[in-house]
């Protein structure tokens, strides 16, 4: 500042500014000095452009030539001229000659410094700018420095400048950069490293609300009398409870009921998944036995088309159960309602090796594990499923008792007879349900080696018995060692009820005799004959023909018989009824354990032998040789014990003495049926039955004894 004011002073002195009358008025006022400098420039311009201010006075020549002499002095006109001060030296007041003429009207501190000044040097050294920089750069830097110093207004400078500034401050800056685009400088006050300028993820809000705990409203009133009444009521209740407690038993009953409900609920936990588990089990089985299931449904032996009188059995599923492996299959029975379900009883035919027994229910849908399992203390020798109530199963035990199981109840038999009420004294060989009697009671028959045939009836959850017949031998009573006479008794092993006349039944005995009996006569047989040389194992009526039945025996034979229509008197006339001849005799070369008619044809039957073979015959095709003779047992020593046709599907199940049940599919030749004429609807059952009977009769005609025929 000082230099500038200095120059101004010079100007003022050099150019007398007397031309402006406005100024002249307060011409001695020093405050006008600044304006004067501005005016100086204007004057210069005016002379050139000749622009006059509007308020300029028009002066005549004379007036213009008139001279005013005024001298500008440096004296302050306002400064007092007569200042006196007391002088202690001269001990009097004296006028001071030196009056301060300086008057400061405006002062502004600049922030610029000269680049050559000491301060500039120091500043440069501090910022590290080398001395050798070009004037341009230095001035730029200076400007920046001054800008930075000057402050806050520069805060908004963009990042680009910062970057440039940084480069400038590096020890070896490039001059070209500065010259090309002008250096951008950092903002010292709001500066952040580039590396820290990362992208910040935007924030988002998310909220969830939980359900508030459930609430309820409750209201009541409390008064003294209400409290009193409540106590009174409660007290009365307590009194009543006390009275109840006096009666014993009821409480206990409640307890047991409670316990029952508890067990039920706990059982439910497991049983809840039992259905799903069963479905899964069956699905797994379906997968693992898929090929067998396909065979069961679709496989037909193609070789059958090229041979007339031969057939085969295709083994399908094999049913085994670990615990039943040491037991023999003692009987088989298909469930009348569910055609894939069958019951198997297990026991032992060995007199020396008697152990427990078992009943298993298998389904073709699950060959790997039984559906139901019942274990018993005594061997089970036979069983029968009720034809109308498929959950009722009658069984006969080795110890001579009979029992009834309900499949729906897992725990043990519903009924089991004891020594007190009619139990047999020898193994029960066969049981058979009968139609419900007139009072709708379930009833069944049993046959045992003790020679009794007993009729059992379930009356009000009790098993009552009635001896139907005793198999007395016609021979004279045997004489005991001490002279007492004991009536010899035949040992029944098998029986079968006539399909139509259900009062009539045939009985096979261990002595090889066949008795035809009636429920009506308990003392005497309708007919009796020596059929076999050894024990008869099975007797079965033909499903179609009312007079034909088949027997099998340990004497290696299967025989087919015709029931004689002779009355009892006629029988007496005939010379030897026991010498009656069978219509057919088949020798199977081994003990025949079971024989069964096929349900679909009157002429087809199958038998199993102790050497592990299944024989299938169709009398319509071959009266002398089996159509099929096939080894079914897996091991040579295994004996086949029983067989049963499925009532619907063309399969048989065969049981052996090692606890295995094998299912076999019959090839087409084994299940030939009369050809249906094309275009004609399938004959109704009655017609078909007649056809079947006629078919069998035709065959029988050929073998009947000519003399016999005459008599009939």
């Amino acid at each position: 500042m000082p230099p500038k004011s200095l120059a101004k002073g010079k100007q003022a002195q050099a150019k007398p500014k007397a031309t402006r009358p406005g100024k002249q008025k307060d011409g001695d006022d020093m405050t006008d000095a600044g304006d004067g400098t501005d005016g100086d420039g204007d004057w210069g311009n005016m002379t050139k452009t000749l622009v006059k201010p509007d308020d300029q006075l028009d002066l005549s020549e004379q007036e213009l030539k008139e001279e005013f002499t005024r001298i500008l002095t440096a004296n302050n006109p306002h400064a007092p001229q007569n200042i006196v001060r007391y002088s202690f030296k001269e001990k009097q007041y004296k006028q001071t000659s030196s009056v301060d003429q300086l008057a400061i009207h405006f002062a502004l501190d600049g922030n610029m410094i000269h680049k050559d000044s000491d301060e500039a040097q120091r500043q440069r050294a501090k910022l590290g700018i080398p001395e050798a920089q070009s004037d341009h750069a230095v001035s730029e830097a200076g400007e920046a420095a001054s800008g930075a110093q000057g402050g806050e207004a520069e805060e908004g400078k963009d990042e680009g400048k910062d970057e440039q500034r940084e480069e400038a401050s590096t020890p070896a800056p490039t001059q070209t950069e500065g010259s090309s685009g002008g250096k951008k400088l950092t903002n010292q006050f709001n500066y952040s490293e580039r590396a820290s300028q990362t992208y910040n993820n935007p924030y988002r809000e998310r909220g969830t609300a939980t359900e508030p705990p459930p609430r309820a409203v409750f209201s009541s009133n409390v008064t003294q009398w209400e409290i009193y009444d409540a106590y009174q009521e409660d007290f009365e209740k307590q009194e009543k409870n006390k009275e109840k407690k006096v009666i014993p038993g009821r409480k206990e009953e409640d307890k047991t009921r409670k316990r029952l409900t508890i067990t039920e609920t706990s059982g439910d936990d497991i049983s809840r998944i039992s259905k799903a588990a069963k479905i899964i089990e069956r699905m797994v089985n379906q997968n693992s036995y898929d090929d067998i299931a396909q065979d069961f449904r679709y496989w037909e032996d193609p070789a059958d088309e090229y041979r007339e009188s031969e057939g085969t059995l295709l083994p399908l599923w094999r049913f085994t159960y670990e615990k039943a492996k040491k037991l023999a299959v003692t009987s088989l029975c298909w469930n009348p309602k569910y055609k894939d379900l069958f019951a198997v009883s297990f026991g032992s035919y060995d007199f020396m090796k008697q152990a427990g027994g078992m009943i298993l229910f298998y389904s073709l849908k699950n060959p790997s594990f039984p559906e139901y399992i019942y274990e018993t203390d005594s061997g089970i020798m036979c069983l029968d499923v009720h034809p109308e109530h498929p959950y009722m199963v009658a069984v006969g035990f080795y110890d001579g008792s009979v029992g009834v199981f309900n499949v729906e109840k897992k725990d043990g038999p519903l009924h089991r007879c004891t020594a007190k009420n009619g139990k047999h004294t020898d193994p029960v060989w066969q049981v058979r349900w009968q139609k419900d009697d007139l009072e709708n009671n379930h009833n069944f028959y049993s046959i045992s080696s003790d020679g009794r045939i007993v009729h059992w009836t379930i009356i009000k959850n009790e098993l009552t018995f009635q001896d139907v017949i005793k198999l007395n031998m016609p021979e004279a009573p045997a004489e005991g060692p001490d002279g007492t006479k004991i009536a010899t008794i035949g040992c029944g092993t098998a029986f079968d009820f006539h399909k139509k006349n259900d009062y009539m039944f045939v009985v096979g005995t261990e002595e090889g005799k066949i008795h035809t009996c009636s429920k009506a006569y308990s003392s005497q047989f309708l007919d009796s004959m020596d059929a076999h040389n050894m024990a008869v194992y099975k007797v079965r009526w033909n499903p179609y023909h009312p007079d034909i039945y088949i027997t099998c025996s340990a004497d290696w034979t299967v025989k087919i018989w015709e029931r004689t229509n002779k009355s009892a008197s006629d029988k007496n006339d005939s010379t030897d009824t026991s010498a009656k001849k069978p219509l057919f005799t088949f020798d199977l070369n081994n003990s025949v354990g079971d024989v069964a008619w096929a349900p679909y044809s009157s002429t087809v039957f199958a038998a199993v032998t102790a050497d592990g073979k299944v024989f299938a015959y169709d009398l319509n095709v071959n009266k002398y040789e089996p159509l099929c003779e096939q080894m079914v047992a897996q091991k040579k020593k295994t004996k086949l014990t029983h067989l049963e046709f499925n009532p619907q599907y063309p399969i048989v199940i065969v049981g052996d003495d090692r606890g295995t049940v094998t299912s076999c599919k019959l090839s087409p030749n084994l299940r030939k049926q009369p050809k249906e004429k094309k275009g004609v609807a399938a004959p109704d059952p009655a017609v078909r039955e007649q056809q079947e009977i006629a078919k069998l009769d035709k065959i029988l005609l050929m073998v009947r004894d000519p003399t016999d025929q005459k008599s009939t």
């Binding site: 705990p213 459930p214 609430r215 309820a216 409203v217 409750f218 209201s219 009541s220 009133n221 409390v222 008064t223 003294q224 009398w225 409290i227 009193y228 409540a230 106590y231 009174q232 409660d234 007290f235």
Partner: protein, 106 residues
């Protein structure tokens, strides 16, 4: 009415005055119920003359045992309509003349 009840009381008092705790209404589980009931009995016996203190004790103890925001009313005559959290209500009589209502609602 009052006279009648008085008469009734007179006749019954000759029989017996019941003081045992009697649960009028509760939807708590058994464990909680017995604990709350015992607490109420203790509180009412301890502050037999000051229902306010009894209520405070019940409330504080229940807060400690079963979590915050329990409410308790102890009195001989009052009416109420409350909103409570399900399974957290006990309304009982005790001592023959005192009603206690404890519930939770936060």
């Amino acid at each position: 009415m009052a006279e009648q009840t008085e008469e009734k009381k007179d006749t019954s008092e000759s029989k017996r005055v019941h003081v045992y705790p009697l649960i009028r209404h509760s939807d708590m589980n058994d464990e909680m119920k017995t604990e709350a009931m015992e607490l109420c009995v203790t509180a009412c016996e301890k502050f037999s003359s000051n229902n306010e203190n009894a209520a405070r004790m019940i409330k504080d103890t229940m807060d400690k045992k079963f979590g915050a925001s329990w409410h308790a009313i102890v009195g001989e005559g009052f009416g109420f309509e409350i909103t409570h959290e399900v399974k957290n209500l006990l309304y009982m009589f005790f001592g023959g003349n005192c009603a206690i209502c404890v519930w939770k609602c936060s």
